[in-house]
């Protein structure tokens, strides 16, 4: 799930985001929901004749001029909106016709590239160095049928059966989550979340260490293992559920996603794994985009209540802020601070010189338009049972925001991490690095495209389908078609 947090918030109560997306990170958990409750005012809508708006950094530029109200046909919360500046009326029709410009630049996309790549790297390194994370060892309850069948048809049938059983668990978990959320059983959700993080951090970590030491053939004494596990686990619980330094929290999320992906990789039989990847992308698509889809229902419920949707299981690149609006200063320069924060589309890389940075920081500081309240994110990796959701309590203490240029973060659901890593793990199982690299590139490009679409459509979007589709297509084509060609070329050292 992606969220781009816009700090030009007007709405008094909720965090508004420019871009929403949504993703199903249920493997086990229910789907993740975006935190978007209403569209921000500041989206600038501009048309372009091509209708193509490739660069995701195009965002910033638009914000340079006056803000426009985003016209959203589904908008039902006009009550929450406060317009900060009065738009000149003649500008509105113009802006309505125009296509939306992304406010956030390529740096946000890259900020998601890095953790996803790290997660995949951890998974691949573990698989290559230890032998105990290879599939086919034991079976688990979620995919009870084995794939040792005599004919291919039987194998497919049993794999399909496995897939449907697994998806049954996932859908049940999602539905339970939604019911819990609808009936406001926040305590249960919170408690469940803590329990699952506990299990993940301690039990899986312990089994990870023991399998590493077993496959590296180095015995480690129990005391050391317990000491290490206890420390890592306790700090993890703190960072994830309470407060902690952001890099540490991010590191824990990445590591836990990697752990879970490894567990999945180990227990999912071969063909079942591929089928599950495909089916869960379709489920993601359905759940998020169909009007009766569970995730959509969740979004709308959160809409109605004016609450944030669960921030659980989210990787965020900055501290998550809740924004409350404050009356804008009377004279706001046209060169509004929002623009400052934007990564300008064109050459994003131009670094500002010191003076410009200080200027911007000064303007931002003086502009008390909003107060940012840090909210502890409670992400957590998917559990096997129920989706755990945590509703954020809004605190009333304003806190100073930080002055980075990219304080607006990007979020991605941890389920995305997990499924991408599973795909890559299966791709690397063959030992052919061409396949691994091809899948890696296609996954990242899929992510890029999803973020782009997110910026264009500005609705909840699932992150899985595009990437997984690209990944699967490129996997099978690389294994069967590109692979032999490439091998033939390598053999003769022919460089095309």
């Amino acid at each position: 799930m992606h969220r781009l947090i816009d700090d030009n918030q007007d709405s008094p109560d909720e965090m508004t985001e420019l871009l929403k997306s949504q993703d199903n990170d249920t493997i086990i958990d229910g789907p993740e929901r975006p935190n978007i409750t209403n569209l921000p005012d500041v989206a600038i809508i501009q048309t372009s004749t091509d209708g193509e708006n490739i660069s995701s950094n195009a965002a910033a530029t638009a914000s340079s001029h006056s803000r426009v109200e985003a016209i959203d046909p589904q908008d039902h919360e006009t009550t929450h909106r406060h317009r900060r500046n009065e738009q000149p009326d003649e500008q509105r029709p113009l802006n309505i016709e125009h296509e939306e410009i992304f406010k956030y630049g390529a740096s946000h996309v890259v900020k998601l590239f890095v953790p996803v790549s790290l997660c995949m790297l951890i998974v691949i390194i573990t698989i290559k160095t230890t032998s105990s994370y290879t599939p086919g060892g034991a079976t688990w309850a979620y995919t009870p049928f084995t794939e040792d069948k005599s004919t291919n048809t039987q194998r497919i049938l049993f794999s399909l059966a496995n897939t449907f059983i697994f998806m049954g668990f996932v859908i049940t978990a999602t539905v339970i989550l939604i019911l819990l959320y609808k009936f406001k059983c926040y305590k249960i959700i919170h408690g469940w979340l803590i329990l699952t993080t506990l299990m993940l951090l301690f039990f899986f970590l312990y089994s990870y260490f023991s399998s590493i030491s077993a496959s590296l053939n180095r015995p480690i004494d129990m005391i050391t293992i317990c000491f290490i596990t206890w420390n890592i686990g306790a700090v993890g619980m703190f960072c994830i559920h309470w407060k902690g330094p952001l890099p540490v929290q991010q590191a824990y999320l990445i590591f836990m996603s990697a752990l879970l992906a490894l567990v999945f990789y180990k227990f999912l039989p071969d063909w079942t794994g591929w089928l599950i990847l495909g089916v869960i992308s379709i489920w993601d698509l359905i759940a998020v985009l169909c009007p009766k889809g569970p995730l959509r229902i969740l979004v709308e419920t959160a809409h109605e209540r004016g609450e944030q949707i669960f921030p659980a299981l989210i990787y965020s690149s900055t501290m998550v802020y809740m924004v409350t609006a404050v009356d804008p200063p009377p004279s706001e320069p046209q060169f509004a601070p929002d623009n400052i924060n934007t990564n300008i589309a064109v050459n994003v890389d131009e670094t500002l010189n010191e003076e410009q940075r200080n200027q911007r920081a000064a303007i931002r500081n003086n502009n008390a338009r909003r107060q940012l309240i840090p909210r502890s994110d409670v992400p957590q990796t998917a559990t096997r049972r129920e989706p755990a959701r945590y509703v954020v309590e809004r605190s009333n203490s304003p806190v100073i925001d930080d002055d980075d240029d990219d304080e607006k973060g990007v979020k991605l659901g941890l389920g995305d991490f997990i499924f991408y890593s599973i795909l890559l793990a299966k791709a690397s199982a063959l030992g052919d690095w061409n396949v691994t690299i091809a899948c890696y590139v296609s996954l990242l490009i899929g992510l890029c495209l999803t973020l782009l679409l997110l910026a264009i459509i500005r609705k909840a979007l699932p992150a899985l389908p595009i990437s997984i589709t690209f990944g699967l297509v490129l996997y099978f084509s690389t294994v069967y078609i590109i692979g032999p060609f490439s091998a033939e070329l390598n053999l003769g050292q022919v460089f095309i």
Binding site: A58, P484, F495
Partner: protein
């Protein structure tokens, strides 16, 4: 020995490109994305070429058939990527470019051309060498059947050559197309011709005891030529250089 050789060949092939990445691309997210996207385009072109190779079953061992088509497909996809970038830039230009230029930010075409060439080159070199590198770490004897013993080293140097060549080809291609006029044909034409020349020369490597020197020298000579052409295209000439040196 094997790990050493693997590390050595990796550094030969990726040393310069890695430095290029760290110094020119890593801190610019836009360029990272451009490189990734152009790598993806290269993958698509390879997919097409592989389909062609795969489909024509009897000629599978005759790489001389597949290689020119692979080159042509790559250049077609380079052109397609150029069109994509053009569209994106056009879309950006509709948006109040004035504010951007005031702030000193312009759509840096050179950077985009460079990043795209780099992306192409990186993925091209990677596909050429990465399996060889992973085989290098395992047991084995090189040249046991009378094959050349320079296989690994030559591969590493050729990979470096390919990566750099693609970078410069990208710059030449995009810059020439941007310039218009006669350059619209000279630039891409040069790129296609030299690419074809380079790839077909490497076909010589398929004999039992290949003379790697041929492909290496031709490759690096072409690289030198491309560097000079790029420099000339970007507007430097002898006077400029003389002034800068003095």
């Amino acid at each position: 020995m094997t790990i050493m050789e693997c590390a050595g060949c990796t550094l030969i092939a990726y040393g310069v490109p890695f430095s290029m990445f760290v110094f020119t691309i890593a801190h610019h997210p836009f360029r990272v994305i451009i490189s990734m996207t152009s790598a993806f385009f290269w993958l698509l072109s390879l997919l097409l070429s592989s389909f062609l190779w795969f489909a024509v079953v009897p000629l599978r061992t005759q790489l001389a058939f597949a290689v020119p088509f692979a080159v042509i497909f790559q250049e077609i996809f380079r052109f397609l990527f150029y069109r994509l970038i053009k569209k994106a830039e056009f879309a950006l230009q509709r948006v109040q470019m004035q504010e951007l230029t005031d702030k000193g930010m312009v759509f840096d075409r050179f950077a985009v051309a460079y990043a795209s060439g780099y992306g192409f080159g990186l993925i091209s070199g990677t596909f050429a060498i990465v399996n060889v590198l992973s085989d290098m770490t395992g047991p084995g004897t090189l040249g046991i059947f009378g094959h050349s013993q320079d296989f690994f080293i030559a591969t590493a140097f050729l990979t470096l050559c390919v990566i750099l060549l693609n970078t410069f080809w990208g710059v030449i291609f995009f810059t020439s197309l941007d310039k218009g006029g006669i350059h619209r044909f000279i630039g891409p034409g040069t790129v296609v011709l030299t690419h074809m020349l380079f790839s077909c020369i490497t076909l010589v490597n398929r004999t039992l005891t290949p003379m790697y020197t041929i492909s290496l020298i031709v490759g690096y000579a072409i690289l030198l030529g491309m560097i000079i052409y790029t420099v000339v295209l970007r507007g430097f000439n002898l006077n400029n250089i003389r002034q800068r040196i003095n």
